[in-house]
Symmetry: C2
Subunit: 301 residues, 2 copies
Amino acid sequence: MSLLVTGSIGIDSVETPHGKVENVLGGSSIYFSLSAACFADVRLVGVVGEDFDMDMLAPLRRKRIDIGGVEVRSGSRTFRWQGKYQGAMNDAETVGVELNVLGEDGAKIPEAFADSRHIFLANTHPALQKHFAGVFSSAELIVMDTMNLWIENEADALRDTLRAVHGLVLNEGEARLLTGSHNLVTAGRRILEMGPRFTIIKKGEHGSLLVAEDDLFVLPAYPTEKTIDPTGCGDTFAGGVMGYLAGQGRCDGPTLRRAMARGSVIASFVIESFSVDALAAVTGEQIEERLAELKRISDFA
Amino acid sequence: MSLLVTGSIGIDSVETPHGKVENVLGGSSIYFSLSAACFADVRLVGVVGEDFDMDMLAPLRRKRIDIGGVEVRSGSRTFRWQGKYQGAMNDAETVGVELNVLGEDGAKIPEAFADSRHIFLANTHPALQKHFAGVFSSAELIVMDTMNLWIENEADALRDTLRAVHGLVLNEGEARLLTGSHNLVTAGRRILEMGPRFTIIKKGEHGSLLVAEDDLFVLPAYPTEKTIDPTGCGDTFAGGVMGYLAGQGRCDGPTLRRAMARGSVIASFVIESFSVDALAAVTGEQIEERLAELKRISDFA
């Protein structure tokens, strides 16, 4: 079943203790869709400027991602992000950002995509997310991401949007900020009171937490020792989760758990290279291997 | 089989967002032994001053902990600690500390305890830990804890002591400081190069990590929503781990994993009250219940 993602497409320049790259493919919807495509048919909706070289999307074409929803807007420039990671590389320092086309009107959903059953609204202004949620109001599953900026400055719009989605994926700092609770289980329960049926709280190297109406699940991160560039890790995780859910056509507790395990494993690949190189190259066999390893390292029966 | 612990016995005054207590029972060996006693016979070795009211040890007596190694030193005063937790309560702020008897000669091991097969050396000066390790050089299992102070100021003595023990339990910040690695799996492997056969890295609310010569294991923390006072949490965890290992008389990978699960569960009780109140009251049935719950919330088969 088709999974549609709306989100940013960007041109990134990234520096980490392991090196630097300039003008490489990035953006939340890119990482998300490359990851999700391991499990489902993916439709990408986003906007780039006329400076964007469409050949950069070759890795997406190879994964049969439908890029029919990528609009090249004349007179506009592509979103650009310049970031730096230091030390433990837990947090990106934004060195420079040009919103460009992301500061203009949102992307349009092609008519051919209107029958999408699974929708992921990557991080953007909550009002725009709500608009998209409205377009797909009869979809089986609508999940969104958000960020500190909206939690702090667009609280009302965000609350409004949360009532229109089934799931929220966010990181632990955002969950604490949104709910005022230091305890993540409590934070998760408060998020459910805001509308979603489930929330997945990402904890980086510490894994992730699922709080659902009828489930609670804690998953460790796949313990990789090789981190070259963490950019896109959270979007890759979300892509694995949503891709698996869409591929299975179910969203019950056990399926959500298995989906998170896939997300955790795929995220362990993306951080092993700059940009999408390692993610684009990952095979189903490699995913299965790490999945078995993740099970092995977390079992105490 | 008998498990011996050497460590601090203290009189604590603690303030958290949930209240405050004054002059209550505390100290690493106290939390450790009350926890370990759920699974094994425990022998406690420590020193208090003549100001110490031995009736405070009533909870230990009720758990049949052998307190024959508690020396009441005349002319000395008991170790006292005053701490405060704020916000997420992840870190204790030390408001006041009186080393008192802990700044004097270490405890003596009673002759009746010389046949102890399992030894836990709670955090103290590494030279003293090495002395104890020497006393029990033919023990089946010697595990130690440490802290930033020794890692930073007594590096040589600590390295020396690490070669005399089988296991090291420490928290993630300490593991990073000791090894210079941000990555905890890498940090764990470096610790094994320093001597121990295994290390358990405690990650607080994020659980714990085992790195052993032939095993790697990640365990979530039991997801409690009720944290009243985190004091003693790490010592309680270590007590559960060592108590279970001693009770089983084995220390292979699967047993270590099950031991850590017990440690994680008991630690979820201790934080639900000030001092040792909740820990002293916990029953085997309650432990089994949470153990089943911990399995349930971490399964994704």
